[in-house]
Subunit: 319 residues, 2 copies
């Protein structure tokens, strides 16, 4: 049950592109529509972000949350879980947090650039096999039978439903994604950024670039963090929560990333940030995958996030 | 102010694809992430739809509405207008309609297929110039100065914000889009389909293919309708609302489409469907563009839709 004072959406950021001098071409539509002469020339806007926002009627705090997805996913990842349970977005709104959900550049309702010559490289879409291992659901040879790691909390019986949420991504749109995400933060105003996986890199740079606006930073299973060491100037005193699930020893890439996350927590602490590392096997994250917002027990992890937010509100870190 | 008993989302439909025998390739990520060996082989699901749903606490009718976007747009088109006013989605929920908002195949959070060899043709993105004329905001030579038609209700001073909502579309995914949209309807159950522009074709075929599930059909400015003449068997007795804005004489394509819409209304009436044609200059649609859900006065048009729905509910057409 959610009681909203306001909800809506906007697109923000991006840049205008003018295409000229291209030949027109005849287009056939499969539907019962006349053929038409398609003119590829004209004005376009590319590299914008889409944001859907929800303002509860009785906000538990004034500072809104900004949720940023990981790689190959969209803002839908915060909604209903693959096995049909309420998502973190439901919990956050029920608890009274004003929440902005982002589809960043190239993802979901942000759209993507199909104009020739604008984006380098090819779009990639994640296979089931890659997700199974990269998201630490089970061993590589357990994919075929969907045999998860012992104690795994991800609902692997709904793996196919999860795969339907994958969307293509580029590897070359990083700077455009940084720019659009920072445009989102400027539009929202003072906020707490909650980012996942690849989104960690965008959230961290926004926290450094817009220190007056990013009042707190939550990086869940970040695959990207700071370029180099976190800056003591911008992050001193700012609360940061890093969250890391289980099974990180199972794959070399996660051994490396877990090391970076732990080292970053230590660096942040040294820089004067109020840093919390919630990581398996401690902190109730045992059995959790790369997707704690979808795992069984996702509500308990969300409740830990809520407590962290309200504790830091009570401590005056944000209103 | 919206009081929701439930909200969430799901992906539905689509088909599995297995890629095999492709060479791996080394991928560079711009962010501070190690290079990795990308394996394009594996399992994928393509051609699914995404649906976000909202169930008000005090529903005004049991039968839900299913909203389907037009070409080159996503479900975001039903949300906040480009100039920041509440969208039709806000009005419908405030009035108590249970509402399912679709991103169909290739659009928004449904994702799209970047796998080689699956989809024919090239994705197209609509230019500002094409939207200006095709959506009947003004004369072709008024684009540069953003000079709209006299009496135009589209907020042309927010045209750039509108352009940020455009996403690429294919011309060759029609059958996949029909299939996924019908999967949406099967999942939702008995419903009233409200479709816009290109969505008209998908809505009409769903009404014919799933006569027990599509209890009513609203086609707003449809660019596609029935393949051939509407079937008396499937649509007899079923309420249909066709909506058509102003300035249709300004462009040949709209002269033709307006003729088809009016002829279809007559055919439906003859087939025994309870047909309503709301069209400019009558019915309060004077000054409205191809996007009545975004025009100034969009709330008045939504209120006409509400009245039509509640009248047909009262007449027993749906619960």
């Amino acid at each position: 049950m959610v009681d909203l004072a306001k909800f809506g959406s906007f697109h923000v950021g991006g840049r205008p592109v003018r295409v000229a001098g291209q030949p027109t071409r005849r287009i056939f539509f499969a539907d019962a529509v006349p053929d038409f002469e398609y003119d590829p020339n004209g004005d376009f806007v590319i590299e914008q972000a889409y944001v859907q926002y929800f303002v509860p009627s009785r906000p538990v705090m004034q500072t809104p949350l900004v949720l940023l997805h990981g790689g190959g996913l969209t803002g839908a990842m915060w909604e209903t879980t693959p096995d049909g349970r309420p998502g973190w977005l439901n919990h956050l709104l029920a608890w009274g947090f004003t929440t902005y959900v982002v589809d960043n550049v190239e993802r979901g309702r942000a759209g993507w650039c199909s104009l020739d010559g604008e984006w380098d490289g090819q779009p990639l879409i994640r296979s089931g096999q890659e997700a199974w291992t990269l998201f630490r659901f089970g061993a590589e040879d357990g994919y075929g039978t969907r045999t998860p790691f012992d104690g795994q909390r991800f609902p692997t019986d709904s793996f196919d439903a999860f795969m339907r949420g994958f969307v293509p991504r580029w590897t070359t749109t990083g700077e455009a994604s940084h720019a659009a995400f920072q445009d989102v933060v400027r539009r929202v105003g003072p906020c707490v950024v909650i980012c996942h996986s690849q989104g960690g890199g965008f959230g961290c740079r926004a926290a450094e670039a817009l220190p007056d606006l990013v009042r707190g930073l939550v990086a869940i299973e970040p695959s990207g963090l700071f370029d180099g060491r976190p800056s003591p100037v911008s992050l001193g005193g700012k609360p940061v929560l890093l969250m890391l699930g289980d099974y990180t020893d199972a794959y070399p890439v996660w051994q490396e990333l877990a090391g970076i996350i732990r080292a970053t927590a230590a660096d942040l602490e040294a820089a004067g940030a109020s840093t919390t590392l919630m990581a398996a096997p401690d902190d109730g994250l045992a059995g959790h995958s790369h997707m704690p917002m979808m795992d069984r027990g996702s509500d308990r992890v969300a409740a830990r996030l809520k407590d962290w937010l309200l504790d830091h509100k009570a401590a005056g870190c944000f209103d």
